[in-house]
């Protein structure tokens, strides 16, 4: 409670020990709170602090005014209380009333209480919830993450997925090397490599939205891992995006696929959730495009220094930007990406020069104003033909955006 109130004005900061790592540690403590299931994946946590602060007769008179955000008087009222002869029945009644009121607040909170939850975690480190199996984190969308159509770009969404995945592993204490390799994996030179990714976007967040991301892992076959994400609008609880990815283990030197060794299974097995995939698997074969089957090809795509990770490999999320480079401007203007399936085949580095191929189905490109959904096939490859990523995307007409109408700042207004 006090923590929540304090965090309300973090600029004057009484934040618990705000150092980079320390914030994480501080929140890990909060993560230890067992959550109540209000509905799938939703927790009420911050208010778990509330009852202990409730105190004495002083409070009983103000129970009707009790709001969960109030800082309740503590030591002062207890002194008052002690000086009076205790009336136990009154006290009992008071405490019961208070707990019932608190519980009622608790129940009503449903999605709302995230507010104080969020304020305790103002830097968005996130926390492990649901008995350590689900990791959740909140992001507010920054201005440079907005794409040309005024909403968060698909790159931004994918970046948030990556961030939460890494923070999950880190907060679970399993981060061996900063890439999601556990300590045992590091010893054996093993790394996780993403094989497949599926994303379905129901609504893109705009600037000012806060996105609540939850992620968890499951087994995928005998030697793979599946990581799922659920993204919701923090305010409304509305589902924004669902994503699912399949990972395989590979030896980082030999680049050969590997089984999950027993030691690694010991580390991560307990984190696997048994749950249905968040997305139905899109297992339609992804065709390989070539020069003759592609409608558009964009060549000469090359990585910049900022596209690279520590191993000087191109970050996976960058591929998506390149995949879309070959999409005709007309599609990007009238439609928005609503689903994407990617198969990762190969990595590339700084000196790679790539080509992005696209073929467009289900719509006449020249008649986009009339068309409904569009489906595209993609191939990202090196100039010598080596495949980097194959993909399929689905597009739907952009929702009518009242921003378009109100975009002008009227002269004379501020």
């Amino acid at each position: 409670m006090v923590a929540a109130a304090a965090a309300f004005f973090p600029v004057t900061s009484s934040l618990p020990d705000s150092g980079g790592n320390k914030i994480g540690a501080g929140n890990a403590n909060l993560g230890g709170l067992k959550s109540k299931h209000v509905s799938a994946g939703l927790q009420v946590k911050a208010n778990a602090h509330a009852p202990p602060k409730i105190n004495g007769t002083k409070v009983s008179t103000s129970v009707e005014n009790y709001k969960h955000e109030d800082v309740l008087p503590s030591s002062q009222s207890s002194r008052t209380f002690i000086n009076q002869l205790p009336d136990w029945s009154m006290l009992l009644a008071a405490i019961t009333t208070i707990f019932l009121a608190a519980e009622k607040q608790w129940m009503m909170l449903d999605w709302k209480p995230r507010r104080s939850d969020m304020l305790i975690d103002p830097f968005g480190i996130g926390k492990i919830v649901q008995d350590g199996l689900v990791f959740s984190e909140n992001f507010s969308i920054r201005s440079y993450e907005i794409g040309a159509d005024r909403t968060a770009s698909i790159d931004t969404i994918m970046n948030h997925l990556q961030e939460t995945a890494l923070n999950h592993v880190k907060t679970a204490g399993l981060l061996g090397d900063g890439f999601g390799s556990t300590p045992e994996m590091c010893k054996k030179n093993l790394i996780w490599v993403v094989a497949r990714m599926q994303v379905v976007v129901d609504r893109y967040p705009t600037w000012g939205d806060v996105v609540h991301v939850e992620t968890w892992v499951s087994a995928s076959g005998k030697n793979g891992m599946r990581r799922d994400w659920l993204l919701r609008d923090y305010n409304t609880g509305e589902i924004l995006t669902r994503a699912s990815s399949v990972w395989v283990m590979m030896n980082k030197h030999t680049r050969k696929l590997s089984k999950i060794p027993e030691e690694v299974r010991g580390e991560i097995g307990s984190y696997f959730v048994e749950s249905a995939p968040i997305l139905e698997e899109d297992d339609r074969k992804l065709a390989k495009l070539d020069d003759s089957t592609a409608d558009y090809i964009r060549s000469g795509l090359s990585p910049r220094w900022s596209d690279l990770d520590v191993n000087q490999h191109v970050n996976n999320v960058k591929y998506i930007g390149w995949i879309l480079e070959s999409a005709p401007q007309s599609i990007l203007e009238s439609h928005e990406l609503c689903a994407m399936t990617l198969e990762y085949r190969r990595e590339c580095g700084k000196d790679s020069v790539l080509q992005s191929l696209i073929s467009v189905y289900d719509a006449g490109v020249g008649n986009l104003a009339q068309s409904g959904r569009i489906e595209c096939q993609h191939l990202l490859r090196l100039e010598d033909g080596a495949e980097i990523v194959r993909g399929r995307t689905k597009w739907r007409p952009k929702p009518v955006n009242h921003f378009d109408i109100a975009n002008q700042v009227p002269a004379g207004s501020t």
């Binding site: 980079g20 909140n138 990556q162 806060v210 923090y234 690279l308 501020t414």
Partner: protein
């Protein structure tokens, strides 16, 4: 000097006490073009302190408590003359050195400038203009950007950036930044940028008239406050054009869709990405970017092709090694035992060779890991 009534200042205090201030309601409609902030025309500063600023305050107060604003970890200072915000470094903003890239730093500076402008009530169509500026069809254009980073933050570090702006001569404005590591309160970077006004129709630079100037001066510190006060700083030095031929080049760079703003212009941060493209690999491997200074000369559009050129520049007082001057393309002759290196850069349009940017970078040897 100020034509505004003194209560302009009182209103500033009122607004700054709001802590997390709501966005002006018109913000949402304009935020749509937030990408416009990233263009050379965008952003900084300046409040709408016109006779209508009562209206500004009311509108702002109506929005207090909007969740995103409470979550945005930034606010105006007590005197209302500067703005501070905290940011956490995300994993995807970290580069080959396991630390934030200079593009990430530039993005955060843009974000904080953007948020400062909107919190003091500037136009929210992406151009951060005042009422009077719009009357005259004036927009802001970046003239120069200088960023110094002494210690790059790592993943999940929290940085706090303070920003403010002030007039610069008759024609320009500057926006300054101080970047601190929030945990240690250590200054890890500083930046300064210079902005001028351009007529958006004629695309010509224009001197600022008093009424335009005074409108925005209200939110600037009266006394000169420089993030980088040193007189010999690179942020003040002229950047000469590279000699021909350049020591290193990378030709045929293309803007990506994600580089573009609402107006289909390439945003400032993309240029910062192009400059090191012509740096020799050996420098990138063993050195870290200490500072970058860019003079903006021309806009770049989506279909332009860009060449990036680099030459070594002798540090003052250092001996110029003769071989370096005649080196063409390989950079092998560069002495990489030097603690510091300095380079001149040119970004130009491939077709006609017209200059887009001139730049200068300083590099320091990376600490051994």
């Amino acid at each position: 000097m100020l034509k505004l009534p003194c209560n302009g200042v009182d209103r500033v205090h009122l607004m700054s006490q709001c802590g997390f201030m709501g966005r002006p309601t018109s913000f949402f409609t304009g935020r749509s073009s937030v990408k416009g902030f990233r263009s050379t025309k965008a952003y900084p500063v300046q409040a709408v302190a016109s006779a209508k600023d009562g209206a500004v305050v009311n509108r702002v107060e109506a929005d207090i408590g909007s969740l995103a604003n409470r979550l945005r970890l930034g606010s105006l200072s007590e005197d209302g003359l500067s703005y501070k915000e905290k940011f956490i470094v995300r994993s995807y903003e970290v580069g080959i050195n396991k630390t934030a890239t200079v593009e990430t730093v530039a993005n955060l500076l843009q974000e904080v400038g953007c948020n400062h402008a909107q919190i003091v009530g500037f136009s929210t169509d992406g151009f951060a203009t005042t009422t009077t500026m719009r009357k005259y069809h004036l927009i802001w254009v970046t003239a120069r950007m200088h960023i110094e980073v002494y210690k790059y933050p790592a993943w999940s570090d929290v940085v706090e950036i303070e920003t403010w702006c002030q007039a610069e001569g008759r024609a320009g404005t500057r926006r300054d930044f101080i970047i601190k590591d929030y945990a240690t309160n250590e200054v890890i970077g500083r930046a300064t940028s210079k902005w001028v006004m351009m007529n958006e129709d004629t695309r010509r630079l224009q001197k600022v008239s008093d009424d335009v100037r005074d409108e925005f001066l209200v939110y600037c510190p009266r006394e000169l406050r420089l993030a980088i006060p040193e007189e010999n700083s690179n942020c003040l030095k002229k950047i000469p054009k590279l000699g021909d031929p350049a020591h290193n080049s990378r030709l045929g760079l293309m803007p990506r869709r994600s580089d573009l703003d609402m107006n289909q212009h390439v945003n400032n941060v993309a240029y910062i990405g192009w400059v090191p493209e012509s740096m020799p690999q050996e420098i990138i491997d063993s050195y870290e970017l200490q500072s970058i200074t860019l003079d903006y000369r021309r806009e770049c559009q989506q279909n332009d092709i860009v060449d990036s050129l680099t030459s070594v520049e002798a540090l003052e007082g250092a001996e110029v090694v003769p071989e370096l001057k005649s080196t063409n393309g390989s950079g092998k002759a560069m002495d990489d035992k030097q603690e510091r290196q300095q380079f001149l850069h040119l970004l130009r349009l491939s077709n006609e060779g017209l200059e887009i940017n001139r730049g200068r970078t300083e590099w320091r040897k990376k600490a051994a890991r």
